[in-house]
Amino acid sequence: MTALPYMLEARDITKVYRSEAGDIMPLKGVSVELAPGELTLLMGPSGSGKTTLLSILGCILSPTSGSLSIAGYSTAGLSAEGMADLRRRHVGFVFQSYNLVPTLTALENVMLALDLRGASRAEAPDLAWEALAAVRLSHRAHVMPSKLSGGEKQRVSIARALAGAPSVILADEPTAALDSENGQAVMALLAEVAKDTRRAVLVVTHDHRTLKYGDRMIRIEDGRIASRARRRLSEVNNEFAPAA
């Protein structure tokens, strides 16, 4: 199987919400590519269309026009269940509010994601433990979310996203609810996850302290891509050069 140049490719994505008060167009022809082994930061002010774009890239919303393919599979013409199937198999999510199931332990939350992906009873526990080990949380496997700290919850959320090895991980403000230390730890973890060339990671963020973890940065304003930048290879700080 030939390696894909992009794990996710969105072309000229437009989204229009029609209402009696008039049409609202949060996205106006946005194109995004996520390459494997890279962490891309998506930044922009509130109301710029970040969340709408994330929802479309995660196959949760359908674009009004434009095309999207994930792991080489187009979303064109897919039903709601088809979209659910695609995101189940190829997209992992990390949410701002973690969104862990409060009645399940950390391990069970990860196993739930594996169950959704059709994991068998034999392989799921090992995969879940591996995912928790990857986020260095094996020792908290049997703890309920209410007993975990914010940072730990987000790490479980990352483990859940990692379980089943998705092609793309989409993180929505993963550090917004965390203190600085935990936020840095979570970003470092996501950067580590992104090094795996079998997947691409997109992080929506407002937090400028996260810049150092990105390989690329896309800035969105008023529903359009305002700029794209790639980290200078020689730089260790927050230096991004305009992308070609």
Partner: protein, 402 residues
């Protein structure tokens, strides 16, 4: 590169292929359903109380219905015969009139008849020994011919009824009849009778006490002639087609109606249960129980689903199919149903046990217990539909707005 192949077959190099057919799936759906259910203890208690109330109400109503059926059909279940010769227009066993008196000979002279037994049945005035009177239903049968009326004799014996003016009464009617046991005397239609046998548990649906006696005494007490009876029971000879025998008897006895045992039984049941509305009231009570139970379960399941809506939205965002989430809700409903059913049945059996010596006859059969289980599960599954509709409309995009 753009393809539209089925995503289910997609696997990147190095990715584990998780969806393999024939593998044992994780029990995450029942686990999630169980945890959701027990997470909200108060909600669970409300749901279970609703189901228990419903199960008990339906069990008691249907139990009363079956008890009524048993009481109405009791005479048929203890009187043996393939065909009944009854006066024209007879609505039920407890609605007796007298045949003309020629029936016995007409029946006996019909080919294919093995034996004939007669019953003299009629309303009588029972005068209590210490004053006062009450109506009763007198059943006179030929006890010497081995007919099994009365049954459940606890004191004296059925054969003791052969004594002059001997009667059998049921112990549950002692107070109403003003007697206390064997040897007590009373008057029936101004003629003295003596209690020679006591039965237990023979109660009529109409609440009128049954008084058993011999055919001859019955005729005397009812003022009937020596060859008159209310019903003539016909037993067909082996190898005789009952329908053919019925046609032959109908030709010979144009002033009477010939009914099969099952037909007369059903006619009596239909009359008391449906024409009088008694059965309909019991069924309406049971239906009410089902509706109340369903509404309570639907409300609590809906509330529980609303409480867990964020989790369901997360599941949907993670790619759970609608079927996966529906399964969680349905299992919650079925778990509630089973818990409610077990507790409800235990309480129902307690009620039945407590009512054993009362005038109420509540019957529980394995068939009814199974039907109640199916009904409870069905009720809870139907109630889950509201919750499922709520979940179907979840927009998974809400996971980004929180």
């Amino acid at each position: 590169m753009q393809t539209t192949a089925e995503p289910a077959s997609v696997a990147l190099p190095g990715q584990p292929t998780l969806a393999r057919k024939g593998m044992m799936r994780l029990p995450m759906v029942p686990k999630l359903a169980y945890r959701n259910l027990f997470h909200d203890r108060l909600g669970l208690i409300v749901t279970v109380v609703g189901i228990v109330f419903s199960v008990v109400l339906v069990a008691v109503q249907f139990g009363l219905y079956l008890g009524s059926e048993n009481r109405i059909a009791a005479m048929f279940d203890h009187a043996e015969g393939d065909l009944w010769v009854v006066p024209l227009g007879t609505k039920s066993f407890d609605d007796p009139a007298m045949l003309s008196g020629r029936e016995r000979h007409g029946v006996l002279s019909t080919p294919g008849v093995a034996s004939v037994q007669e019953l003299a049945v009629g309303f009588v005035n029972w005068r209590k020994p210490k004053g006062g009177s009450t109506a009763a239903l007198l059943v006179g049968s030929d006890v010497t011919q081995g007919i099994s009326l009365p049954w459940n004799v606890t004191e004296g014996s059925a054969s003791a009824l052969a004594a002059p003016s001997a009667v059998a009464v049921d112990s549950t009617y002692f107070q109403e009849l003003g007697v206390g046991g064997l040897g007590d005397r009373a008057e029936v239609n101004n003629m003295e009778v003596t209690v020679h046998a006591v039965t237990k548990g023979i109660r009529s649906f109409t609440t009128l006490p049954y008084v058993f006696t011999t055919l001859a005494t019955g005729r005397t007490l009812l003022g009937a002639s020596a060859d008159q009876s209310s019903y003539t029971l016909v037993k067909a000879a082996p190898g005789t087609a009952v329908e053919e025998l019925r046609s032959a008897l109908a030709k010979r006895l144009p002033d009477a109606e010939i009914l099969t045992h099952a037909e007369f039984r059903k006619r009596s049941l239909d009359y008391w249960l449906f024409e009088t509305g008694a059965g309909a009231a019991l069924i309406a009570g049971a239906v009410l129980g089902i509706i109340v139970g369903m509404v309570i379960v639907a409300q609590t399941l809906y509330a529980s689903t609303k409480d867990h809506l964020n989790e369901f939205a997360t599941l949907r965002a993670l790619g759970a199919s609608a079927g996966y989430i529906n399964k969680v809700i349905l299992i919650q409903a079925i778990l509630s149903a089973v818990i409610g059913y077990v507790l409800g049945m235990a309480l129902s059996l307690l009620v039945i046990w407590a009512a054993e010596d009362s005038t109420l006859l509540i019957v529980m059969t394995p068939h009814l217990a199974l039907m109640l289980l199916a009904l409870t599960v069905g009720m809870c599954v139907l109630a889950a539909i509201c919750a499922i509709f709520k979940v179907i409309r979840i927009d998974p995009a809400v996971v980004f707005s929180r």
